[in-house]
């Protein structure tokens, strides 16, 4: 009888750690001026090492790779948690409009907070508050009790995102941000202007989110039998939902405050993992953190290197990959008669 054993968990997670290291190495070495793996390693290990290669690796690429790893992990884990809580494999923080709420919070503080003396450090808390508000709104509108139908999911997501984008542009105009490309990067999602000083905070939020979510991983399995069955089997369903939605808001807020609206990572990564590893959340949640990190690091390296001499926003790449997958999943649900 195939069942998750701790040994399998350890082997899979160790394997994924190796993948993360490999994608990070690629991100540090690849670029307009390639750096050898040995030189990159030296630059990392010896902070006193000077020279252009060391400056590029430490000063430019390392913060960016770390940002990609953190954001990818946050978005993928949030995706897994939303899918389990809403009992719909199409749920994703971006599709649901939760990322939109977070971005609205972040841009709001940037546009209007200057007068209050709020700097960039105020962005993560504001993005977290935005994500939390969007989650509350989603539950309020959908009158959520158990499963979220795909129709409601799509409709609320479309409206949330449209309203959030409009409000972001409005706020940015008010705050005089619309001239530059920064608003464009918030809306499409990019790591090009990831603020290095936030990365420690983001890591902390990611760790906090994971620490909240992991003890409930088995409860997430039970939730897919329905809330009443889970409750009857001894799961404190209401507490589980509160803790887990709090942790998704933490992670979405963290991700969005460094990268803006990167979409579909929370859809692609969990879906691929479920195909390979099965649906057990005890494995899926930590695996999503690692695989999401690796996936976004890879996408960001592609964004930096695909077009010589210029850079794509990474959100465009994930959307190009994720959009078709979303439609495919929707079609499969349709065929199985799971809609609306």
């Amino acid at each position: 009888m195939s069942v998750l054993r701790p040994a399998r968990l350890a082997v899979v997670l160790l394997g994924l750690c190796c993948v993360v290291l490999a994608t990070a190495a690629l991100g540090l070495t690849a670029g307009p001026s390639p750096v050898g793996a040995r030189d990159a390693l030296h630059a990392l290990l010896d902070p006193t090492l000077g020279g252009p290669a060391a400056d590029i690796v430490r000063g430019i690429r390392l913060p960016r790779v770390v940002a990609a790893l953190e954001v990818g992990a946050c978005l993928a884990v949030a995706g897994v948690l939303f899918q389990a809580l809403l009992r719909n494999p199409l749920a994703d923080p971006f599709v649901l409009g939760i990322s939109g709420g977070a971005a609205l919070g972040g841009v709001g503080v940037l546009a209007l907070g200057g007068g209050l003396g709020l700097g960039y450090a105020a962005v993560p808390p504001a993005a977290f508050a935005g994500a939390l508000a969007a989650t509350a709104l989603l539950f309020g509108v959908a009158g959520l009790r158990g499963r979220l139908s795909s129709t409601t999911l799509l409709l609320t997501g479309v409206v949330f995102n449209a309203v959030a984008s409009a409000a972001i542009i409005f706020l940015a105009s008010l705050g005089g941000m619309a001239e530059g490309t920064s608003i464009f990067l918030w809306l499409i999602g990019s790591l090009a202007s990831a603020h290095g000083e936030l990365l420690g905070w983001i890591a902390l939020l990611l760790a906090g989110g994971l620490a909240c979510a992991l003890p409930w991983a088995r409860a997430l399995n039970l939730l897919s039998l329905g809330e009443e069955s889970a409750e009857q089997l001894g799961v404190a369903v209401e507490r589980a939902k509160r803790v887990l939605l709090f942790s998704t808001a933490l992670m979405v807020g963290a991700a969005v405050s460094v990268s803006g609206l990167i979409g579909f990572v929370g859809l692609i990564v969990p879906h691929a993992l479920r195909l390979v590893l099965g649906p057990d959340h005890r494995l899926l949640v930590p695996a999503a953190a690692l695989a999401g990190a690796a996936f976004l690091a890879l996408c960001d390296t592609a964004a930096r290197t695909l077009l010589p001499g210029r850079e794509l926003p990474v959100g465009a790449i994930t959307a190009l990959a994720g959009g078709p997958l979303f439609l495919l999943l929707l079609r499969r649900q349709n065929r199985r008669g799971l809609l609306p």
């Binding site: 009888m1 494999p89 039998l225 069955s229």
Partner: protein
């Protein structure tokens, strides 16, 4: 301790509407009790109260002599298992994984299943004849097979009280008899079972006692022969029915017209 479940004067309100009104009901060890009544009579609500999912507005619920409200979740989940009418699973868990979910109240804090959990789950699947399906995705099964998996999950919980809400509504005749035979075997081993059913024939054949409810109140309690009489059926179901004697002496209800 022979009493598995006791409801005393249980009332439940949904807004202004009373759903259950002063219900008394008992399930003793070794017996299968059938719960009959029209749609909306309060059967499912009664099961939710008995399983601890719903607190009654008035009255008391005790499980094995202890107040249900005072039981910890885990204790309650070890004592009582519930098989809902239908279980929709959203992710492709294997049948074995679904059955192992029944072990939840018995697991240690790390939440990994041990050798005994696997053995109990395997035995439950073998008992229900679905061992061959263990590795199949629950999403690929027919409705009947899925329900057998859910019953196996409830048995893997090793409860002492089994609550079943129309467990056979979507099953063919063979599967119906199979599920009820397993419920009987569960009772024979010392458990108590409360089964909601719309199938009066199955209820008469497999239950020791029947409880007939209408509009939230208990109309009649007793053996199938005592409960399934034309006057009671007219009152509870608003139908005219003839009651014949079956081959084993159990009553056979033949519905004839609206009352």
């Amino acid at each position: 301790m022979s009493e598995r479940l006791a409801l005393r004067g249980v009332s439940v309100r949904l807004g202004e509407r009373p759903v259950l009104d002063g219900v008394d009901l008992e399930v003793r060890a070794g017996e299968v009790v059938g719960l009959l009544g029209r749609n909306g009579a309060g059967k499912t609500t009664l099961l939710r109260v008995a399983s601890g999912l719903l607190r009654p507005a008035a009255g008391s619920v005790s499980i094995e002599g202890r107040d249900a409200g005072a039981l910890r979740r885990r204790e309650r989940a070890r004592a009582v298992a519930l098989v809902p009418q239908e279980t929709a699973v959203d992710f492709p868990f294997s049948v074995a994984e679904v059955v192992l979910m029944g072990r939840t109240p018995h697991l240690g804090w790390l939440g990994f299943e041990g050798a005994r959990d696997l053995a109990v789950a395997r035995a439950a699947m073998e008992r229900l004849g679905i061992a061959a399906l263990a590795e199949r995705s629950i999403l690929e099964l027919s409705g009947g097979e899925r329900q057998l998996a859910v019953v196996a999950r409830a048995l893997a919980q090793e409860p002492r009280l089994l609550l079943l809400d129309e467990p056979t509504a979507f099953l063919d005749l063979r599967h119906r008899i199979e599920v009820l035979a397993h419920v009987r075997a569960f009772a024979a081993a010392g458990g108590g079972a409360l089964v909601v059913s719309h199938d009066l024939g199955i209820a008469a054949r497999f239950c020791d006692r029947l409880v007939l409810i209408a509009r939230g109140r208990v109309l009649a309690v007793g053996t199938p022969a005592e409960v399934l009489v034309p006057a009671r059926l007219r009152e509870a179901f608003e139908i005219e029915a003839a009651v014949l004697a079956g081959p084993d002496g159990q009553p056979v209800v033949v519905p004839r017209a609206l009352a």
